[in-house]
Symmetry: C2
DNA sequence: TTGAAAGCGCTAACAG
DNA sequence: CTGTTAGCGCTTTCAA
């Protein structure tokens, strides 16, 4: 009984393909072709259909598209609470995906919601690929083998997992080189706790120290992600008879917290002790902080991740499972010459 | 040619309702009834179906559910980069939604992706309600009138928008009372910039000062969300001949940055100047910070938001468009007695 | 280049 | 209590 145009009031119903087809005087299939921008329609028809769609304010129904397509053109993304860096990656993922005709669906890792639940909720949407910004663990991701997976930020050894990351090894080399060139030898590393990224930077630190001939001077303090752990680490050092010559922190938060603690204890930075961070976040640029920090390109990482995910979806051959970008070191005011007796 | 069971290899295809039905020897409709846990099946059938589903590892296809249902049972959530507080709200939203049989779909506000795009991408999934954790603007949300909207965190005057927030007015009253009781009079507020929350706290500050008889002592410095703005504000104050007696900051970040700046300039906190923050975030609890801060209950806000969204979806009558929780003040080490001459 | 028709996997009346 | 039957709005062969 409900014909297409039953006059007066049809306030709710959204505009469908059929409406556009009727309005343009063509079949639904043709409208579908035009909307998806695939070959199979004359320029003139295309124009007419587009105008009709425009006029009616047509937007494709994602649910129906999802169900009808064999590929969803959906890329699942799990992410955890993280700083500006991860948000910048997210920003890059959105634009890169859109450029390629894909859509992102997000799932957050929260205190009460681990990887399993985060991924399962996405799974029911039948996404084509999964990009993981967390959880930062060395374990192989669940879902491996079932779907293309791109891990952004740390090394995963499973052969079915693609990786886009910035070299933590190289970052550490830059930092240690910078410090040793300024005479530092007793360089302590405050790590980031349990995660895979922390592991990588710790290993990078040890390697860089060794190749600088400072293998006997390595020292790693257990830290974490937040300022809390930074101030704890600083306290540990302050209780000792002699401060190290330099501290290489896992991230900017740790570095800043330590900086504060040292200053409060009456030390000068960098005259008495040098400090470096990681991420080159806003906090590192604060006028009263001016932290020397390692920087990585979030948008580039995002673009590579999306490109790789799509390559896997489309079964395009790729050269390297793991794509590693090179970081830079931004030198600011918290690193200086070591004292003569160091 | 592809019949249901063509033997040997069917490696890809996911288990569908039909598979479960066949396995359990009942109709698809019955399986649907059992899975959705709605009345219309005997206990025995229910058991048999559940077992079959379990055995086959069946998971409903969200795309198909979405398309077939009149209500999607999907709650859209837009959120921006924000601190721990917003992540805690997100955590609460997930669990509250799940408890009520709904699912969250997220859309992030990033530097290149504003409210319009964030909402549009969700819209195509036909969500039943929208929860907004940002953007923190006084403007009426787009989508208003088309769908139930719950704003979490700030006041919106549009009659069609539900609000769940913690009273910024009351928070300010707690802070100002606390300070005036300790003899402070020259109390400066460093605000949070342009947002609606900042507006509310600024207004709250002015009102609280006035009702404390300090209407002539009000002073608002423009601030922001990050430590950067805090240190700028501190510098402004330090350049003047005399520091205020106390600073009420928009959030913990600002407060901490100012604290640092004052200490570096040789002042003692709270002996020379008192400082308060907002959010009671991790940074406020740092052993070397111990910031007096206003605290709000993220999980409770989340629960209320979900409850309200669902009430609107189901057209349940509700009492009050705006639900306002009361904050608490956590007094720590950054607030003390005013100096005698203040 | 265009159109007809058969699904995608599920929900929701409605009959039995 | 159970099964049959239409769709949901789109994509995608396949013929015309």
């Amino acid at each position: 009984m409900t014909s297409a145009n039953d006059g007066a009031k049809t306030p709710k119903r959204r505009v469908t393909l059929a409406d556009v087809a009727a309005h343009a005087g063509v079949s639904r299939a043709l409208v579908s072709i035009v909307i998806r921008d695939v070959p199979g329609a004359s320029a003139e028809t295309r124009k007419r259909v587009m105008e009709a769609a425009e006029e009616l304010g047509y937007r494709p129904d994602r649910r129906a598209q999802l169900l009808a397509r064999q590929h969803s053109r959906l890329i699942g993304t799990v992410f955890g609470m993280a700083g500006t860096f991860h948000f910048d990656v997210l920003d890059g993922l959105y634009t890169a995906a859109e450029d390629r005709g894909y859509e992102l669906i997000l799932s957050a890792l929260t205190p009460n919601r681990g990887e399993r639940r985060a991924v399962e909720s996405l799974q029911d949407f039948r996404f084509d690929a999964l990009i993981m910004l967390g959880p930062d663990t060395t374990k192989t991701p669940l879902m491996v083998g079932k779907i293309p997976i791109v891990v952004v930020g740390w090394h995963v050894s499973h052969p079915a997992v693609d990786v886009v990351r910035t070299s933590d090894e190289e970052g550490m080399r830059l930092v240690i080189d910078h410090l040793t060139q300024r005479g530092h030898r007793r360089i302590v590393h405050v790590d980031g706790g349990e995660g895979a990224v922390s592991d990588a930077r710790r290993t990078g630190y040890l390697a860089a120290m060794r190749s600088a001939g400072l293998g006997d001077h390595t020292r790693v303090l257990s830290g974490g992600l937040t300022q809390l752990e930074g101030s704890t680490a600083a306290r540990t050092l302050l209780e000792e008879s002699r401060l190290p010559s330099a501290v290489v922190a896992f991230n900017d938060e740790i570095a800043v917290a330590m900086l504060e603690a040292f200053v409060q204890a009456g030390y000068r930075v960098p005259q008495d002790i040098s400090i470096t961070g990681w991420d080159n976040s806003q906090i590192a640029r604060l006028p009263h902080v001016r932290l020397t920090s390692v920087t990585q390109d979030a948008h580039e990482m995002a673009r590579l991740a999306i490109d790789r995910a799509i390559a896997r979806i489309e079964a395009t051959p790729v050269a390297d499972r793991e794509q590693v970008l090179m970081p830079d070191l931004v030198v600011r005011a918290t690193t200086g010459l070591a004292k003569a007796d160091d």
